[in-house]
């Protein structure tokens, strides 16, 4: 399988770059043999555990960057909303548990969407079902269905093939 080879080579390159970056020594001193040893062992174990597929390779796409930028703004906005509730003299909330339908099929897209709901304070994904997520909201104001739809649309366009 040529795709497997591509994934293996990519993983090796990424691990080598990671090692060079985190060790801070570059690629030119005696510890290099240990680096090669650990990279080879890691790639070997990844193959043996059957984990070497498109999900295991940390590939990079520009659309993800745009999505993260948008998500960052949403996180800041909802953080401020939660902080306002928490620091107000009298806390006045109505917590809700709500179910939101999710039409995404791709695993990465579904995980991204669930993590995005959890990352924005005020909503936490409690349970993942076949056709939807169950969310807990700190207050009714965080759980508008149209807000959930916007998230889903953004994830759909960021991951591309994740939709039908």
């Amino acid at each position: 399988m040529t795709r497997k080879w591509l994934y293996g080579v990519t993983l090796t390159i990424v691990l080598t770059a990671m090692w060079a970056l985190l060790s801070g020594y570059g690629l030119k001193q005696p510890l290099l043999s240990l680096a090669i040893f650990s990279i080879v062992v890691t790639v070997f174990m990844t193959i043996r555990m059957g984990l070497l597929d498109g999900e295991a390779i940390p590939y990079w796409r520009l659309r993800y960057l745009a999505y993260w930028g948008w998500l960052g703004r949403e996180i800041v906005k909802s953080n401020i909303a939660v902080l306002k509730i928490v620091l107000s003299p009298v806390i006045d909330i109505k917590p809700v548990v709500t179910r939101t339908p999710v039409s995404l099929k791709d695993d990465v897209a579904r995980a991204t969407l669930a993590n995005s709901y959890t990352l924005t304070p005020g909503t936490v994904t409690m349970e993942i079902e076949e056709g939807g997520f169950i969310l807990h909201g700190l207050d009714e104001s965080f759980c508008g269905q149209e807000g959930f739809r916007i998230f889903e649309r953004k994830v759909k366009s960021a991951t591309g093939e994740g939709s039908e």
Binding site: V86, I91, P95, M126, I134, H136, L138
Partner: protein
């Protein structure tokens, strides 16, 4: 004072402001964990500390470190927190939900409900 000195001073001031803001946000999150009524609502307050609080402090530290390897490591750290914190939050929430812990689902005011925090 020359131009470089001014820029350095500005960077130090901005990064100090960012780190102080982050510390304040983390403090507010801790206050929220104490003030909110039940497990699920407290989880939201805890989420404030590890999304906005931690990331802002890391941003301030990156400004302190400048264009060095330390900055790259800090950025990686921020990315890892960004990816792992919702996963752990979901794991805790899912465990509580499956074991049957009932969330408070009525309107709750902190001045009327002293003592029913359980």
């Amino acid at each position: 004072m020359d131009w470089m000195g001014l820029v350095q001073l500005a960077v130090i001031l901005v990064s100090a402001a960012l780190m102080l803001t982050g510390a304040g946000i983390i403090l507010a999150g801790a206050v929220g964990v104490i003030r909110l009524p039940d497990f699920y609502t407290r989880m939201h307050a805890a989420g404030v500390t590890d999304t906005l609080g931690a990331e802002i402090i890391i941003l301030g530290l990156i400004l302190q470190a400048g264009f060095t390897l330390v900055s790259v490591k800090l950025a990686l750290l921020g990315l890892i927190i960004f990816l792992t914190s919702p996963t752990s939050t979901h794991a805790v929430a899912n465990a509580a939900y499956r074991s049957g812990l009932k969330p408070i689902l009525r309107r709750w005011r902190s001045d009327e409900n002293r003592g029913d925090a359980a």
